[in-house]
């Protein structure tokens, strides 16, 4: 059986399902039909079973986890807690209810103390749920720990659950709810876990079922055939080989170079990006230096940080974006006015121009860092809408010592006059997330319009094609920095539309590198033509996929 969802990443996993049990409802407060002594025996038996389980898990875990779990085991058999349970049982309550109330008393006591004690209060909830589950002969709620590798199936994961996951044991994640921006999806992307989210029919999967989690094809296969399992295992081996393969520069099948760059939010991610084969940085976001600040950081502070990043990428290209504040990242010292539509308000270059001193200081710090290091620094401005803004930014950047100055194309207006914008600067980089939001008039943070937020939409692709054509005409680089570049198939389409470099989260580099190597420049153009001619986003993806399959099949047949 095939269960549809949204795949995160390109991975495949095969393994037995372990379901995350739902939280138990509060036990009903009704008189027990057993006498208190009998209920006390039940309660004590379950408390000691849970205590033994926790102690056992602690012994297996070792280290700091051992102390925490041992302490929890002691709490389950705590003499004061048992006194409290006995007190409730004497009034004729059931063991479930007495356990629930006794733990709740201590939970409230600790929660009221705040700080470290309040954190322990959630431990008590967890132990309470385990004991009640044991009394009811139900599976324990919370993150399972079966002691073998497994595919976790959950309704959705809360941040606290994901923190408890033993990633060494999780082969894959399947959630019934949640979309591509859910907490689970973010975790999966960050940790490269094979995941399919929003798979509604996964609710029917049972513990022990073998499933194939196929993120690349957005599906989960229940009760797979032996052939399907063999095929999935072959793909897993292929991907492992791919990851182990030496990292080569990004290129198409004929050797045409397509530099693969990393999107970074601070200098600390540099080492990991380089390890994964980043040929430079295509988008260095500088916001983190300014966020949570009441005033802009000094030139010196900025320069130190930029120098650190540029030093890590000596001999390589680093594209820094000047401060992109406003909309979802407001900064009080730049724009404190309330706006009805911040996404359409004083943000990006508009806000910087309004407080030019901040822009001047940042450009000065960047130029000084560039002069002190061997990296090739390019600097670009966010939210450019006009040629006039382009001229303003490049003139100021050059005046302050920036050698290569360009713009981000995130607004349809900039894309529609791309030839004139590019004539006024050195390069363009397309921010596909914002370009999609503004082209489709769909707020990128709003789940209800998520169906309109695909960069595969031919309207978005058309604008990218215009920018690509203008770049080719003028001989100026057109990069892509946005989630779109991380999609291995869309990456080929983007190159076909004229992108000369692709920048993405470092974890996506290997898949995109492998995908590009399968197609020639003409193939990429054919994929792009098919996608551009489609009616909508889903159709564009299907059309590109069909052309891609045709090309790879023909090649396999010929060889």
């Amino acid at each position: 059986m095939e269960i549809r969802g949204t795949g995160i990443g390109q991975g495949v996993a095969v393994g037995p399902v372990v379901r995350m049990a739902e939280a138990l409802p509060e036990p009903v407060d009704r008189p027990s039909h057993l006498d208190p002594e009998h209920e006390a025996e039940r309660a004590k038996a379950s408390l000691s079973v849970v205590a033994a389980e926790l102690a056992n898990r602690g012994a297996k875990a070792g280290g700091a986890a051992k102390d925490v779990l041992e302490a929890q085991a002691m709490m389950a058999e705590d003499p004061s807690l048992i006194d409290e349970v006995t007190k409730h049982l004497a009034t004729g309550k059931t063991a479930e209810r007495a356990v629930y109330e006794a733990f709740a008393t201590y939970r409230d006591l600790l929660a009221g103390m705040g700080g470290y004690m309040a954190e322990r209060a959630t431990d008590l909830d967890d132990i309470s749920q385990r004991v009640i589950a044991h009394l009811l002969k139900l599976p324990a709620p919370g993150v399972p720990n079966p002691g073998h590798p497994f595919v976790l199936v959950a309704r959705d994961l809360a941040p606290a659950d994901t923190a408890m996951l033993d990633l060494g044991q999780v082969l894959g994640l399947v959630t019934v709810e949640g979309g591509p921006t859910s907490h689970t999806a973010i975790l999966a992307r960050e940790k490269s876990i094979v995941a399919v989210v929003g798979a509604a029919d996964a609710a029917s999967l049972a513990d022990g079922d073998t499933v194939i989690v196929d993120a690349a094809d957005d599906l989960v296969i229940a009760s797979p055939t032996a052939e399907q399992v063999a095929e999935a295992n072959a793909r897993i081996a292929e991907r492992a080989a791919l990851e182990a393969a030496p990292v080569t520069p990004g290129a198409l099948a004929d050797g045409t170079a397509v530099p693969l760059l990393a999107n970074l939010g601070s200098a600390s991610g540099a080492a990991e990006a380089l390890k994964l084969g980043a040929e430079g940085v295509g988008l260095f976001r500088t916001e983190f230096l300014f966020l949570d600040a009441d005033t802009a950081p000094s030139v010196r502070e900025q320069q130190e940080h930029y120098t650190r990043l540029l030093t890590a990428f000596a001999g390589k290209k680093v594209v820094a974006r000047v401060l992109d504040a406003g909309a979802d990242k407001p900064l009080s010292f730049l724009n404190s006015a309330h706006e009805e539509n911040p996404a359409l308000g004083l943000r990006g270059i508009r806000a910087l121009r309004h407080s030019e001193i901040i822009l001047r200081e940042q450009l000065t710090a960047l130029a000084e860092a560039d002069a002190a290091t061997d990296a090739e620094l390019w600097v670009m401005a966010p939210m450019i809408a006009t040629v006039e803004e382009t001229r303003y930014f490049t003139a100021l950047a050059k005046e302050l010592g920036i050698r290569v100055a360009g713009v981000m194309v995130e607004t349809p207006s900039a894309a529609l006059v791309a030839d004139r914008v590019l004539a006024a600067c050195d390069f363009a980089s397309i921010g596909t997330n914002d370009l999609t939001q503004y082209t489709m008039a769909a707020d990128r943070l709003l789940g209800t319009v998520a169906n309109l937020q695909s960069p595969w939409h031919p309207a978005v692709l058309r604008l990218i094609a215009d920018v690509g054509a203008a770049g080719a005409e003028l001989g100026k680089p057109v990069g892509i920095c946005g989630e779109a570049a991380a999609d291995p198939l869309l990456a080929v389409v983007l190159v076909g539309l004229g992108a000369t470099s692709l920048s993405m989260s470092p974890s996506a580099l290997a898949d995109v590198r492998a995908s590009l190597a399968r197609y020639s420049p003409d193939d990429a153009k054919a994929l792009a033509r098919a996608a551009l001619a489609a009616e909508g986003a889903a159709e564009a993806k299907e059309a590109a996929q069909a052309v891609a399959t045709e090309i790879t099949t023909a090649r396999t047949a010929a060889s």
Binding site: D67, A71, M74, D78, L81, Y116, R120
Partner: protein, 88 residues
């Protein structure tokens, strides 16, 4: 019955690991042990929940009362535990 007052040595007070070590030692001693933070009421020292719920911090004064078993040896051992810094 013997009792003594001691100052807590653990940097983070009688929480978490130090509380666990202490109540484990109490349970293993076989004696009946109660404990009181200066100004508070006596609680069962074998109960980790009661002990941590006292909110005992580094430098607080705590009185321990040991009843039954090898009272003096148990008291010495528990005082030693409480005055040591287990968070180092």
């Amino acid at each position: 019955m013997v009792e003594r007052t001691v100052r807590i040595g653990s940097t983070h007070g009688l929480h978490a690991r130090p509380a666990k070590l202490f109540t484990q030692a109490v349970a293993a001693s076989g004696s009946s042990v109660t404990l009181r933070k200066a100004g508070g009421a006596f609680v069962n020292a074998a109960s980790i929940l009661s002990v941590i719920a006292q909110g005992i911090d580094h430098g607080d004064e705590v009185t321990i009362v040991v009843d039954g078993g090898d009272e003096h040896a148990v008291l010495d051992q528990l005082v030693e535990l409480l005055s040591t810094d287990h968070d180092e």
